[in-house]
């Protein structure tokens, strides 16, 4: 479940970043600090986006930066970062990005249920309202727990 992969220290609200690259680094920083990914993993996200374009921009204002598991995913986790001022990622349909869900997926299976809930939340305007209005990580976690309750 998503609630198992999102931990309070991985949630950052109202952060600032000058451009997409800094936004990715800001979003990934707590995953590095908490031993979820190596610094090389973060570099690989940036390299990948430069090579192939922002393939992890998923819907309006939403990016899910991630790299290949073998590039330094240590433990499956999803971070949540909101930006005070959205930045362009070079995705005409979905720019500017305000919400970043940095993903570390260690193996192919344990994160699938989490991604399933996340993709449903991304279609729920209420979720973004909570992200905009939350004053603490706990507000966000509570919404996720409640949203997943019915699906367990």
């Amino acid at each position: 479940m998503l609630k198992d992969l999102v931990e309070a220290p991985l949630i950052q609200l109202g952060m600032t970043a000058a451009d997409w690259e800094e936004a990715v680094r800001v979003a990934a920083a707590p995953l590095v600090e908490n031993g979820k990914v190596t610094p090389a993993y973060v570099d690989d996200i940036i390299v990948g986006a430069k090579e192939h374009g922002p393939y992890f921009v998923l819907t309006e204002h939403v990016a899910m930066p991630h790299a290949r598991p073998e590039c330094g995913a240590l433990d499956s986790a999803i971070g949540i970062t909101t930006l005070k001022t959205p930045v362009d990622f070079g995705s005409p349909a979905n720019d500017p990005v305000k919400y970043l869900f940095c993903l570390s997926a260690k193996d192919d299976d344990d994160h699938i249920a989490a991604l399933q809930s996340l993709v449903e939340l991304l279609g729920n305007p209420e979720f973004f309202k909570v992200l905009d209005e939350a004053t603490s990580a706990e507000d966000v976690l509570e919404f996720i727990r409640n949203a997943e309750e019915g699906t367990e």
Binding site: G48, Y55, F56, V57, H66, R68, S91, A105, H111, G123
Partner: protein, 100 residues
């Protein structure tokens, strides 16, 4: 039995966007009874790919539509928009129907 088309849903990493895109595409396929079966992978999965269709986030589509290993590249711009996904899968199926 009608032909079933094989689709590869992929992204660079093969773990994140592609998995989510597969989840949404499968919802649309099953809700609309489309004859498409999906699997997911990363860009390396294109080596030896023998299916009919490759689905990715649209930022990769330009690159893929020039790739000789890709028979038909379908790019999605908004992962939560089932209308977009359905419309693009319908276009694919219509193209296939015209070929036969």
């Amino acid at each position: 039995m009608a032909k079933e088309y094989k689709a590869l849903v992929c992204c660079r990493a093969g773990m994140g966007s592609s998995m989510m895109l597969k989840i949404k595409a499968d919802q649309v396929i099953s809700e609309n009874d489309m004859p498409i079966k999906t699997e997911h992978g990363n860009l390396d999965s294109l080596n030896g790919f023998t299916g009919d269709l490759v689905i990715t986030m649209s930022d990769l589509t330009d690159e893929l539509s020039r790739d000789p290993r890709v028979p038909y590249a379908l790019g999605i711009t908004n992962i939560v928009d089932k209308v977009e996904i359905k419309q693009k899968l319908d276009e694919f199926l219509a193209t296939k129907a015209n070929e036969e």
